[in-house]
């Protein structure tokens, strides 16, 4: 048996998704609204389900409803619906109690563009 370590440093370009990735870094839910039917997708869809290729970037409030959640050794993840979006999304749940069904997007900073939901500040305080 031969042991071999291979390290790979990637330089990946998000291309058309750059505004979405920049949004995650700043903690904004940057969605795409179709110019034809106004359907809003988050994460953004390049081509709208209506077939239109043209869309505009729009920032959602960033709050979301947790529809399903999974917990275990792999971490906490959910299928959630962001307010103002017509699509749902899977993401990481960060410090959202099992009894809580709402949360707000958390900034990923300069790290990998991680899409995650954290507890709402007012609900945490109140």
């Amino acid at each position: 048996m031969i042991s071999h370590h291979l390290g790979l440093d990637y330089a990946l370009n998000p291309g058309w998704m750059a505004p979405y990735v920049a949004g995650l870094s700043a903690g904004k839910a940057r969605a795409r609204r179709c110019q034809s039917c106004a359907a809003t997708s988050f994460p953004p869809l390049r081509v709208c389900t209506c077939g239109c290729l043209e869309g505009d970037w729009t920032d959602l409030p960033g709050t979301a409803q947790v529809l399903f959640r999974t917990t275990g050794l792999d971490g906490d993840f959910g299928l959630v619906h962001f307010d103002g979006a017509n699509t749902k999304t899977t993401l990481r749940l960060q410090a959202i109690p099992a009894t809580e069904t709402r949360g707000i997007i958390a900034a990923s900073g300069d790290n990998l563009p991680v899409l995650r939901l954290t507890a709402l500040a007012e609900e945490r305080d109140g």
């Binding site: 990735v21 997708s41 999974t70 917990t71 299928l79 699509t87 999304t89 993401l91």
Partner: protein
């Protein structure tokens, strides 16, 4: 264009497990290929083309594996193509190879599926890589694991279509129990529902025993133009219909995140090609990446109107109307990714010929068997319907 009929003249699988004997994927590929070729009654020189299924170079650190295997298998000179479709890679290769024969571009072809999914990298490394087999920018970098995505998809399925913890246990126990009669299976286990409940929670509702393992191994089939089938192979099963389809790569963008729409579409296409209905499928090797995935597959393929009821009535048990995963499936037999779809098709072909492992071989053979494979959370689905030869059984 005249469409040629295709017969599975040879089929073989190596054991699926975690290799500790110093062998590598080239050894397993050769072993499966030689067995399949011998069963086909053909010679190396009869093979016109080689199709290799392997999900990722990350596993074996061999780019361009199809050309390497052409040499390793003693087939230098043949046309060689590598086929990839995530977890569906093996079935995509079967389709690509069969279409080449149908189109008249080849008479006899070899399809080899391989992957060292267990022994070459740590389980954590493989799980990280698997995370990038969904949308790498949204799911992969977020750290969503395959188990978490499948768990969310199953929860959505259960909320809409039903499916209980007892159903998950039933699938788990049945598949692993079948594997106990398959000498090549990775996880021949006889667990109890309590053992399942006591195994670690990976991503609720999935516990470790609800998951398929990472395995090493290879599978091979030889496909032949039916009118060129060698003497003595008249009992070999034919490919009756194939279908493939894709769904949206984001679970959250699907109208029903729990329903495998791509699988339903692929099945409809395969049935149309075969002139068959789901009710006529009497044996099926399904893509049970997780216990709940099998329930989702049964529903999408149209094999049952009420999955929980039929499961509890024994419809999918070895003696049932549609025996599912007699091999043990991915959960029991194992999952060397590229080999999975080829192995499912090989298993169906051997079963329809009456040449499968004796303890699992049904006494009465149905007309049709189904091999069902997918990649992503059923983002890419590929299914094949095989038909028993008139003279078999």
């Amino acid at each position: 264009m005249q469409v040629r009929d295709v017969t599975v003249t040879g089929a073989a699988l190596t054991p699926f497990n975690r290799r500790k004997d110093g062998t590598g994927f080239r050894d397993w590929a050769l072993s499966a290929f030689e067995m399949a070729l011998e069963r086909s009654g053909l010679e190396h020189s009869d093979i016109d083309a080689l199709y290799v299924a392997s999900e990722s170079d990350f596993f074996h650190l061999q780019l361009n594996p199809a050309s390497v295997l052409a040499t390793e298998l003693g087939l230098t000179g043949v046309a060689a193509t590598r086929c990839e479709g995530g977890g569906a890679s093996g079935q995509v290769a079967v389709h690509t190879a069969a279409r080449a024969i149908q189109a008249g571009a080849a008479k006899h072809v070899a399809v080899i599926g391989i992957d060292p999914s267990a022994s070459s990298l740590s389980g954590d490394a493989v799980r990280t890589l698997y995370g990038f087999s969904f949308d790498a920018w949204t799911d992969g970098m977020t750290g969503l694991t395959s188990t978490a995505l499948y768990a969310l998809s199953f929860q959505a399925f259960a909320a809409e279509h039903g499916g209980t913890e007892a159903d998950l246990a039933s699938v788990t126990l049945q598949n692993r129990s079948n594997a106990c009669h398959n000498p090549g299976a990775h996880l021949p286990r006889r667990d109890s529902p309590q053992d399942i409940a006591d195994s670690p929670a990976i991503a609720s509702p999935y516990r470790r025993l609800h998951c398929s393992p990472l395995s090493d191994g290879a599978a091979a089939i030889i496909l032949s133009r039916t009118d060129a089938t060698p003497r003595g192979r008249a009992g070999a099963a034919r490919i009756a219909g194939m279908g493939a389809a894709t769904d949206h790569m984001h679970l959250g963008a699907r109208a029903d995140p729990g329903f495998f729409t791509a699988k339903q579409m692929a099945m409809q296409r395969a049935c149309a090609e075969a002139g068959a209905t789901p009710a006529e499928i009497g044996l099926a090797e399904l893509y049970d990446a997780y216990a709940g995935t099998q329930l989702q597959a049964i529903a999408a393929l149209g094999l049952s109107e009420d999955v929980s009821r039929d499961l509890n009535d024994g419809v999918f048990a070895p003696a049932g109307r549609c025996a599912i995963n007699l091999s043990g499936g991915l959960m029991g037999q194992g999952a060397p990714v590229g080999a999975t779809g080829v192995g499912q098709t090989a298993t169906c072909a051997l079963l329809l010929e009456g040449r499968y492992h004796p303890a699992l071989q049904p006494d009465t053979l149905p007309r049709y068997a189904l091999a069902d494979t997918h990649g992503g959370v059923c983002t890419l689905s590929a299914v094949t319907i095989l038909e028993r030869a008139e003279r078999a059984a």
